[in-house]
Symmetry: C2
Subunit: 402 residues, 2 copies
């Protein structure tokens, strides 16, 4: 190794996906370890549309651990960041002491610089922490040369981040152990399993910032008697049904369970004291629209789900995408002269029949939906091989172009 | 009896109150008998502000049973009207065969004319069926000369009507019998018990007619797993707590339980499939306002509750009425040049401190609330002695002036 490379940082860049739960996670039984009160199941979205990119560099010349998120330096001392850093380093030490090859001996004592960006606006309200922590853990593991099960570490950054460690259809098994070692994500089916399944993110023009999910779920656990019942008596059965529906590619069951579980999650938010509202007027209109649309056809063609915010995520099959998007455009006339209304995977034009227009009609809400992201299920985290894509320069600091 | 009086109708006029539940009724275990899946508890509102007035006449000259509601003849064959008529006639026959005095022997074979009016607009969304059926049953009983327990008959007209048969604080005990004979209302405390308790009905400008409660609760019973849990495992404890809070005049417990139970009822509506939304944007703003107001004072001074519509009913103590009304006026600026904003019991003016304004501030919603009805707990149904108040003329038909 030439002398001038001694201080050159050890660097890796990876990407990780967003995931959208169809059986919702809401409520922790252990706040520090982030252990949930119920299992959950999600679809990993394709990174061509939505992803986090993270570069981690380690170098003996770095004075301290530092992190830049979306072009702004953030406080590395955040407990959840510290959990991830600590756990990856512990794993690396353990592997080294186990005599495993590939673990970078020197890096263990080195500080890291971390730089992370999303390819979607935070305003999209897409729970970017899941992709963010998944990407952080995946990239740290690369730099420290550790492999294998990492979802238990990602979970300690942000609960739902564990599900972003895998592609396709992923369950987070709640586990029973006090130490959380059995609270891990597991792939149910890969992203290639159900190619007809499509996802539309309807980004609602949010009125204001809702209650954060961390504090929201704390209050729910403390005050909602319905949440406890849901976690103990409803979700276990729904997990089994949902896994079966995914395996069989049974869209009707998948869609109905998805809608019911979204509604039940928001019901427990309303049963929280004081109550938490994540659905706004636009959300409720989307819900009504989906039910009217399905009723018109006498079959469940489209499903909605909402996380801790007003954006709808729509699951449907490829054959219905064009028409449903046109229906959305009909009821939520987009801003003219604004940006593109449809982003991501191309959507064909469709003409709505008068009967359909009649069936789904309601008071239009102009600009209620800012834009749509059209996407599908996708793979888990990926390593970016092209060194030009590193977000940190060879000096270990964010590139100017970032 | 002079000859010319033979055809003169036997006539009675009574009034009955509205009631507002603080432990909610939602879901029937028997649709025909209207037997609920849980007990409930309500406050009977004062008839000086809100009441139904009903005149019933019976005469051998009437060809058929007929009914006029709010100046419009309605179909008497409605099953629930028929239930009440049948049950009152059955009771009268039973009493006559038991040899009780006072039962009008002749009236039993006579047809009735019924005329009923509310002193509040139906648009106020105040579940007028409770007051309406209570008044109908109470007045029919008077005409047929029957007395005693009538809430079981009122219940068969509209479930919550049984609670309007008593004044003050009233529980509807769900009962266990298949034939419903033990599903009756019972006074917990009379209206004189807690004179400081005050009620404000905030009539929201409704966007559209929501799902009716009859079909809504049917769908909830069929589809919501949370409703079943609520009815079986949550409400029994809440009923005990609420009765105790009323007895002790413990406003904090009364208020918090009232809000939690309203929220839980609406949570079960959201857990219904397809979901039912009764709270609109104005409702949610009122909820937020009440919590911010209470937080500002560090005590629970005001409680909200919502039935199957967007109107808030506020429970508070006399000492807080003026200020809270001013806060409502501040956040929901009333229509200038419109009708009176405050109706009913007079409300003093109040000046809001800057700190309070700051604490409760949010985006004002002009005209979000049409008007306020200021009232309190009141007595049960009453007989109107003045024959000038009859809604039917001596010919047995609605008076022109009605």
């Amino acid at each position: 190794m030439p002398e001038d490379n001694v201080d050159k940082p050890n660097m890796a860049t990876c990407t990780a996906p967003v995931n959208i739960a169809v059986i919702k996670y809401w409520g922790k039984r252990n706040e520090d370890l982030i252990l949930p009160i119920n299992s959950s199941l999600s679809v990993t979205l394709h990174q061509d549309q939505l992803k986090t990119t993270t570069t981690v560099a380690s170098s003996r010349s770095f004075q301290e651990d530092r992190i830049w998120l979306n072009d702004k330096e953030e406080d590395i001392s955040h407990p959840r960041l510290q959990s991830c850093l600590r756990e990856i380093r512990r794993l690396a030490r353990k592997r080294r002491s186990d005599g495993e090859p590939g673990v970078d001996m020197t890096a263990l004592s080195h500080k890291v610089h971390i730089c992370s960006v999303n390819n979607f606006p935070t305003a999209a309200g897409l729970a970017s922490s899941a992709a963010g922590f998944a990407c952080l853990v995946y990239t740290l593991a690369r730099v420290f040369g550790v492999e294998g099960e990492l979802s238990g570490i990602a979970r300690q950054g942000s609960g739902s981040a564990c599900r972003s460690m895998y592609g396709g259809f992923v369950q987070w098994i709640m586990g029973r152990r006090e130490d959380g070692k059995d609270s891990l994500a597991q792939q149910v089916e890969p992203e290639t399993h159900w190619p007809e399944l499509r996802v539309l993110v309807l980004v609602a023009s949010a009125e204001r910032k809702p209650v954060g999910s961390t504090s929201g779920m704390q209050t729910s656990v403390q005050t909602s008697c319905l949440l406890k019942h849901r976690a103990e008596s409803v979700v276990p059965g729904r997990m089994e049904e949902m896994i079966e529906a995914v395996r069989r590619k049974d869209f009707t069951t998948f869609a109905e369970l998805t809608m019911k579980d979204s509604n039940q999650f928001h019901a427990t938010c309303l049963d929280t004291y004081p109550p938490i509202f994540y659905l706004n007027n636009v959300s409720r209109q989307v819900i009504g629209l989906v039910h009217r649309y399905n009723r018109h056809y006498g079959e469940t063609r489209v499903a909605y789900t909402f996380d801790a915010g007003p954006n709808a995520v729509i699951y449907t099959l490829q054959e219905h995408v064009a028409e449903f998007v046109q229906v959305v455009r009909h009821l939520f006339p987009p801003e003219t002269n604004g940006g593109q209304f449809i982003n991501g995977l191309p959507v064909n034009n469709a003409v709505l029949s008068e009967e359909l227009k009649q069936a789904v009609s309601s008071e239009p809400i102009p600009k209620g939906i800012s834009y749509i992201i059209s996407t599908k299920a996708g793979p888990g985290p990926r390593v970016v091989d092209d060194p030009d894509q590193h977000l940190l320069g060879s000096d270990g600091f964010p590139k100017k172009s970032v």
